[in-house]
Assembly symmetry: C2
Homo-oligomer: 337 residues x 2
């Protein structure tokens, strides 16, 4: 298998130490022996064993990345940006996907700890006990939270402005004249859900629209959204607009609307969230909220690399701006409503 420093030392007839000096480019070695050893190492295809190195240096140059399945989240954007940034910073990515039907985050964190990762970037799930992340920090692992907020966590956190996302989506519909708006929303047990709901609620109450009765929770998948929407459409006094927690939900909403023979936005308006790939090419291009996923990921990596370099950073929350992406799925409510 891979040859070791000892093999080279033996082959060169020198000691381990000399080989190390030659390969690491340190002084205190004659140019000739250095070149000779380097050449030998190359022909013998010597590759330093990072595992062994990690052991002596107490540093693995590994960063754990925990994220969710892309069904629920634009993970691919995050994963790609993060992996690239970490690699450029000299770290390799140990990836874990955690989600409802996947290994729980607690388990994943335990694994990362055993693998002695130097740092972790985590996109927290809605259900994760904050203690999990506190554990990481206490163990001395550098941590940055991406796209979520863990209360009182002594670590930098980066998130999109969920409050604003809810507010501007709702305000957009209100400005168009809608008064009866259904919000297919996120459970408010998560910070994301709370902030989003608060944004919607404040926009509603500013316009005198009741919130509670218009807030409906749906499971996070397209077909659940489709079924729920069908019910909504059948109900008396149906809404003139639907505000979906995510573009994936909006897909289900649109399906149900088309199936009912209604037109978007003439009969009913739809707003999504996330600006997923393809949302601009929908049969009716979707009005949605854009989250700067790549920028969030980049800032996250930048912070982690600074922490890993030994800098100390404030454990603050960085909230990045979101924008309304105005497309064709929203318009004024139908006349007479």
């Amino acid at each position: 298998m891979g040859c070791t420093v000892n093999d080279i030392a033996r082959a060169a007839g020198v000691s381990r130490s000399t080989v190390l000096r030659a390969l690491s480019g340190k002084p205190d070695i004659s140019t000739e022996t250095r070149d000779r050893i380097r050449e030998l190492a190359a022909t013998m295809k010597y590759r330093p064993n990072y595992i062994a190195r990690s052991l002596t240096q107490g540093k693995t140059n590994l960063v754990g990345v925990i994220t969710k399945p892309s069904l629920y989240y634009a993970s691919h954007l995050v994963i790609e940006s993060v992996e690239q940034g970490l690699l450029e910073g000299g770290y390799s990515t140990l990836l874990f996907i955690s989600g409802p039907e996947r290994e729980a985050e607690e388990q994943v964190v335990e694994r990362l700890l055993k693998n002695r990762v130097d740092g972790v970037i985590a996109v927290p799930g809605a259900m994760t006990a904050p203690a999990t992340y506190h554990e990481l920090v206490e163990t001395g692992v550098k941590l940055v939270i991406l796209d979520g907020i863990i209360d009182e966590l002594p670590a930098p956190q980066i998130t999109g402005d969920n409050y604003k996302a809810g507010r501007i989506a709702a305000e957009h519909l209100i400005r168009l004249g809608h008064r009866k708006i259904a919000y297919l929303g996120i459970p408010t047990i998560s910070t994301v859900g709370r902030d989003r709901a608060r944004g919607v609620q404040e926009a509603f109450s500013a316009a005198g629209i009741p919130f509670e009765e218009n807030f409906l929770e749906v499971a996070f998948n397209e077909s659940a959204a489709e079924k729920r929407t069908a019910e909504i459409l059948n109900a008396a006094n149906r809404p003139t607009a639907i505000l979906a927690r995510h573009d994936i939900i909006a897909r289900g909403v649109l399906r149900a609307i088309y199936a009912a023979g209604l037109k978007v936005p003439d009969d009913i308006s739809v707003v999504g969230s996330g600006n997923i790939l393809g949302s601009d090419m929908f049969r009716v291009p979707l009005t949605t909220i854009n989250f700067p996923a790549k920028e969030m990921a980049d800032q996250c990596v930048a912070k982690l690399l600074r922490l890993l370099a030994g800098d100390s950073l404030p454990s603050d929350i960085t909230m990045l701006d979101v924008q309304l992406v105005l497309r064709a799925s929203t318009g004024p409510p139908p006349k007479g409503l």
Copy 2:
């Protein structure tokens, strides 16, 4: 930081060996000391150092996964399936994304080797020297190739049937009556490109349609496809159908067609490939070719796990079936053409 076996031994007043026996659940230890040590380990939050363990066992339980940016490929599906499968098999995923504007695969492989991964799953890029993968195998790393073919590589390979993909897409258009079809295709230097082109070519020649003059290469991005399509539409004797190498390319094609004020499929038909998320919700739902990404990934993991378990597998090519997904973007050519 993390406490070690030695710390526990000292705290318990026993030797390292005894601690190990207690924790590993081996025999030759009294129940009382075992329980006492286990309890102690729990309160001291002992976590075995996998790095150190790897060193003694010559096995890291790490698998390197090399894939491409999702812009070019449905990487997220692959990544998720693979990560899950590996985790269930007891391995963690060391992820690397390699692509045109990313670190080259040669570099990535070198890194994986230094990290002493036990196995590798690689989605090969079009430009990678086969030697890179041979190196892996020679070094004793278990390897399975996913969604690509490296000639003469002594490792199992899994791919979609690219020949069939090209053939059935072309045949579908021919059956509808098209005779002038532009193929916005893949460079034929890759095996994928060769197979795909061969499929299209055979369908064409069976129908007496010339291939060379209808084969156009485009850079793999939406706007390049849009520009190229605009040129195609402006040319004299424009095609009645466009066969795109990928749904992403098809997006650009559709944009250009809409911009030219033409209708799909009335004026021109479009076939994509890949069945990406959202292609079913396009303004005109896209007829495309479905590749069983998840199944490919699953089979890939299954094979790698067997290799890692010590089984020897034939170095064959597993080709999974692809299907035409018939949607609304294809129809008969306009009358008189």
